[in-house]
Amino acid sequence: MMSGVYGYFPGCSLKGTGVAYEESLLALFRALHLGLAELEDWNCCGATSYMSIDERDAFSLSARNLTMTQKAGHRDLIAPCSACYLALRKTQDYLDRYPKIAGGNGSLTSIRAVRVRHPLEVLYTDVGVERIRKTVARHWHGGRVACYYGCQTVRPYSEVDRDHDPVRMDELLGAAEIPTVDYSLKTKCCGGSLTGTTHDVGVRLVYILLKEAARKGAEAIVTVCPLCQYNLDAYQSEIRRSSGERLDMPVLYFTQVLGWALGAEIESLGLARAISGRKRIAQWFQPAEKEAYV
Amino acid sequence: MRPKVAFYWCASCGGCEEAVLDLAEGVLNLADAVDIVFWPVALDFKEKDVEEMADGEIAVSFVNGAVRSSHQLNMARLLRRKSKLVVAFGACAQMGGIPGLANLTTARDTLREVYGEADPPALEFRDNGHTLTLPKLFDSVFPLDRAIPVDYYVPGCPPSPKIVSDMFDVLLNGELPEPGAVLAPDHAMCDECPRRDSRPQELKLDRFHRVQETAIDPEKCILAQGVPCLGPATRAGCGSRCIAGNMPCSGCFGPTSRMRDYGGKALCSLASVVEGNEVAEIDRIFEGLVDPVGTFYRYSLPSSFLERKRWE
């Protein structure tokens, strides 16, 4: 469904810490003339503490969102936040394997038909590397970037990419002329909620990811997940304070860099919301001077 | 003195009675040979005439038709008592026959079908002092031998003249065959079929036609033309009358002695010669057989393993 309208489930992150993700996603889809319709009266995806306290509650929350997707007449529901994506997928998977949890007359099982999508996979499958290559509107003049996928979009219920060695973000950025490095930690833990609970462990994980990216010659990290982005972006100053080490590593959403390359209006990419490496960002994302580029 | 014989007709169409007359002038010889003491369709005897006879006084009773009402049952029992031999005459008496298809429904539904909104008549009807009682209709139709012990069977709907005259020969002046015997050859009718040589060795059917939907080549094997013909599963002796009329065998002569459930065996065999390894294709081919029970149990539902449709 190239030009059809996708249902869009923002989840809490894209309205809060990850608002830059939403802004750039919308801008990117506009640039590609893809329709995106936010789900009306959506609720928590269930990925939060629900999932660990009572799965059934979590499933019910996801189920409601999926039901409303059908009501709204969408076949596809785009969930940019990895946690939302996983929670919705897991709900469908459980309905598949244990139909009983649907309860009642089992009518609920029909929501398995909704295609829960991640924007990375939509860009790769529905738009395709070729169309990206053709649509490039701005020459990249920034440095090399490390594509970082995190854990939730690649397993265990996902169809976004190869679970242990995802490559699609690299390919898409490559098509947009954005050089990437071979980043071995592309699916390693970003610290997740540990940054909030066992803080020093969480921050150490963040440090490892940033450090290895720099070692591989990356000047920025590009992610697909609001939590990853936040962890990697927000704790660099703390690392500097504790270890004196200056990383200044921009941590961007793939929708931001792709949006820029494909000609989305720069102001709408939420770049100003970045915390670390602002100078680099400022240099890289100047408006392209009027070059006749097709 | 001439042996006494009786003819009686239960649930049937009357064709079997005709079959006796089909003996043509043979009937006269028969009339000379025997003393017909009971034959409601042709002669004016009453039930009480039979009741007044001594037990075993009748040499042979020829009963055609299936049993589906209390009156038929009583008559069958009465004749059994009065006769030395009872012959189940024709497909209905032998297997239930066409009326046997009523076993796909029940008495209640049958009556509702017949009388519609109007109530079916009461079993007892009084009018100025007289009482008329109607026989009770059973929920199921039965072959004769479910009601009374039967000595011999004569297959066919109706039995062919040859079969009938042969029957009279054995019963009246031949030595009697094994009790329970079916008085017809014990191989299938393909053997007698005039078209038998036109059946290919490796028959594989990829569709079925209904008789009314196709022009049957009068020379070739009918089954090979995709029209379900039950000749291979049906007892011989009919003289291939249907085939001669360019119609497929529908199985009125019933099973050979080696088959236990006529329709089941016939289905098993027919389904073996269709094409298709995929469910979808196989189902497509069988769509041509619109009514399996009607096709394979047209004359034998009450004598099949399942006997009747399951009670819902």
């Binding site: 190869r162 242990h164 060695d165 071979d182 071995s184 930690l185 490892i208 290895e212 070692r215 | 014990d186 191989h187 299938a188 009718m189 393909c190 053997d191 038998r196 059946r199 290919p200 060795q201 490796e202 028959l203 594989k204 039950l230 000749g231 291979p232 599963a233 011989a236 099973p255 050979t256 080696r258 088959m259 236990r260 065996k265 016939a266 098993c268 065999s269 027919l270 073996s272 010669v273």
Partner: protein, 663 residues
């Protein structure tokens, strides 16, 4: 059933120790059986299959004039033959017998004693009703053609071939590759004795080539198999190697003469670690010593514009013929030995070990070639960039004992890993780290070899490796491959930087095993290896008579076990051949001609053309030698004129009725 004598049935209920008795109430079962029609005697006994158990049957036949026997014990696949023989010895026709399976299909699969017993009673009553209809039957005999087909020229096929050939039987040995030798030919040393694989294999290979009783067809595949035990008709497709085996003297000058001065084509035998020319010989000791031309890469095939210097070099021998066509050979054999071997697990399937991503991650088989004196590096263990590794990590159980890939243990990896550890250390003096889940060294001299390695200062770390990565945490890891693993003995996570990683890939069924299985009409076990008739009692037989298994096509094995099994398979084949015939099961179909109406329904039922139509009498007839006894034509015969021994309608209907007697 004609002239039916009075049926006197004896029922025997087996305890099978406690295997049955623990779950089925054998006493009440026997009592119940005693009350069934025609049963004159019923017993329960600890082990019916034992000699005393069988004697019991024989005596009762004599003393109590039994003429039908029912034994309720294990699966007929296990002991039906045993008991039939007992009847025979007891002077009764062996087919007056029916077996009830109350072990595999009752006591072992049900827990509730009452229910299991009820089921057993139903099954016994079914058998009692059935057996009353049994008829005396005679076994047929098929002659066994003495020639043998062996598929696969690895060590298993080679050993089996030589064994049979030495016994004077003619063997057709068919190998898909251009040479025989299989995996073993690639090995350098063999564990645990470290004797050189070539030294023990190549003499056997040339013996095969030289043996008058062996017809060797390399570069060939079996494409069609018809017939039955004793009389298999086999079609073999011989691919053209473009060099005539009979004319070639094996001087190999043509290879030197090839217009390609530099070898450019990846060499399969060395797993791409070296290059070969378009005309080549897989390895120096290849058998036959005849080059192969690879049409994919030969200029003459591609452009037709080659100087064909090879042909010139061959001179007046004219052995090279680039117009050679594929050739079909048709042979008739009595028995077949399948020795089609295995393939190694594809390490790409576990991306977290970096195979294909990091050049210095190797599979064990590749390293076998590296340490091999006749290998691509002449025995030098060097990395792809020519460096000599200072630290080497060997990762065990790659594609074995893993829910995500294969659950089975491949049996040889621990030992060959130890062997490689020893050899690499010997060649390079590098630090060697073995990463293992459990060290499995069951075998003669295996554990001792392990102990020896421990004294050679090879490191052993117990734990399944999490990943192989180039992610460096500190300068010591720069430019290295880092192996991350939980050391389950020390109880913490280690990072071990190495220069070379060896993945001990497991053994798996060949990709084409399913096709081969269908070709020979045998079964595969759930993991895909060929299924033996019985794991203990018939380990080299299959469920198809006359077809035997040898080597890793039946499951992972080391060389000693493979050779032993090959010998066993050869012996099984010999037993058949020397007996000269095989007794066949009498469960064939036959037409009652006077009943047959000639409708021909049965003709198309039989895939073996055992049912033929006889025009003279206008009836069908079954050739009981061709009939394999499936009974499909019996079910299809519309008027019930075809019958099947042992599966008569009477018998099966009686069995069905019997099942309900106790319900």
């Amino acid at each position: 059933m004609s002239e039916r004598e009075t049926v006197r049935i004896g029922v025997y209920v087996c305890h099978c120790g406690t295997n049955i008795a623990a779950t089925v109430d054998v006493k009440s079962l026997a009592e119940y059986a005693g009350l069934l029609p025609n049963v004159v005697l019923s017993r329960d006994y600890k082990y019916m299959c034992s000699d005393p158990g069988q004697d019991l049957i024989r005596q009762d036949i004599r003393d109590r004039q039994l003429n039908r026997i029912v034994v309720a014990s294990c699966s007929p696949h296990l002991h039906e033959h045993t008991f039939r023989t007992a009847l025979k010895v007891g002077g009764l026709n062996p087919f007056y017998f029916h077996m009830v399976n109350i072990r595999e299909q009752a006591s072992w699969v049900h827990e509730n004693r009452a229910q299991a017993t009820r089921k057993a009673k139903n099954l016994v009553s079914a058998a009692v009703q059935r057996v009353a209809f049994h008829q005396p039957l005679e076994r047929g005999r098929v002659a066994i053609q003495p020639d043998v087909l062996i598929v696969g020229g690895g060590i298993a096929g080679i050993h089996a071939a030589l064994t049979l050939a030495n016994a004077g039987k003619h063997v057709f040995l068919v190998e898909r590759e251009a040479t025989i030798g299989g995996h073993m030919a690639r090995f350098d040393k063999t564990f645990p004795t470290l004797d050189c694989a070539a030294c023990i294999l190549t003499p056997k290979m040339s013996a095969v080539r030289a043996h008058p009783n062996i017809t060797l067809w390399t570069y060939s595949e079996v494409t069609k198999v018809d017939g039955y035990v004793g009389n298999y008709k086999v079609t073999v497709l011989r691919q053209p190697r473009y060099v005539d085996e009979d004319l070639c003297s094996g001087c190999l000058e043509c290879i030197e003469a090839c217009v390609y001065k530099q070898a450019k084509v990846p060499d399969d035998f060395n797993l791409g670690l070296s290059k070969r020319r378009p005309i080549y010989i897989p390895f120096p000791q290849a058998v036959p010593q005849v080059p192969v031309v690879d049409p994919e890469t030969c200029i003459q095939f591609k452009s037709g514009k080659c100087k064909t210097t090879c042909i010139a070099a061959c001179g007046d021998r004219h052995a090279i013929n680039l117009r050679m066509e594929p050739k079909e050979e048709r042979i008739e054999v009595g028995t077949v030995i399948l020795a089609t071997g295995f393939q190694t697990f594809d390490a790409h399937r576990v991306p977290y070990y970096g195979y294909g991503k990091y050049p210095n991650v190797y599979t064990a088989l590749e390293v076998e070639r590296l340490v091999n004196a006749s290998g691509p590096t002449a025995g030098e263990v060097v990395l792809r960039d020519g460096r000599r590794p200072e630290a080497v990590g060997i990762v065990h159980c790659v594609g074995s004992r893993d829910e995500n890939t294969h659950r089975w243990c491949s049996r040889v990896c621990c030992m060959y890993s130890l062997k490689l550890a020893h050899l690499i250390k010997e060649h390079t003096g590098a630090e060697i780290f073995n990463f293992y889940i459990d060290m499995r060294t069951p075998g003669k001299g295996f554990e001792e070899f392990y102990q020896k390695l421990l004294t050679e200062r090879v490191h052993f770390i117990r734990g399944r490796v999490a990943e192989v990565t180039d992610w460096a945490l500190d300068p010591t890891e720069e430019g290295k491959l880092v192996i991350r693993v939980e050391d389950t003995l020390a109880g913490f996570v280690r990072r071990i930087p190495v220069d070379m990683v060896v993945l001990a890939t497991g053994l798996e069924p060949r990709t084409d095993a399913p096709e081969v299985r269908r070709l020979f009409n045998i079964s595969c076990a759930s993991e895909g290896f060929f299924l033996e008739r019985h794991p203990k009692l018939a380990p080299v037989n299959t469920f198809t008579d006359g077809i035997f298994l040898a080597g890793c096509c039946q499951g992972p094995k080391d060389i000693p076990d493979t050779v032993a099994q090959a010998g066993a398979a050869a012996a099984e084949a010999l037993a058949l051949i020397d007996a000269g015939y095989l007794e066949t099961e009498p469960n064939t179909a036959h037409v009652e001609e006077e009943k047959c109406c000639g409708c021909k329904t049965c003709i198309s039922m039989c895939p073996y053309h055992a049912v033929a139509f006889v025009d003279e009498i206008h009836k069908s007839r079954v050739n009981e030698v061709l009939c394999k006894g499936c009974g499909t034509c019996v079910a299809a015969c519309p008027s019930g004129a075809i019958r099947q021994n042992l599966f008569e309608d009477d018998e099966i209907f009686a069995e069905i009725e019997g099942v309900f007697s106790n319900a």
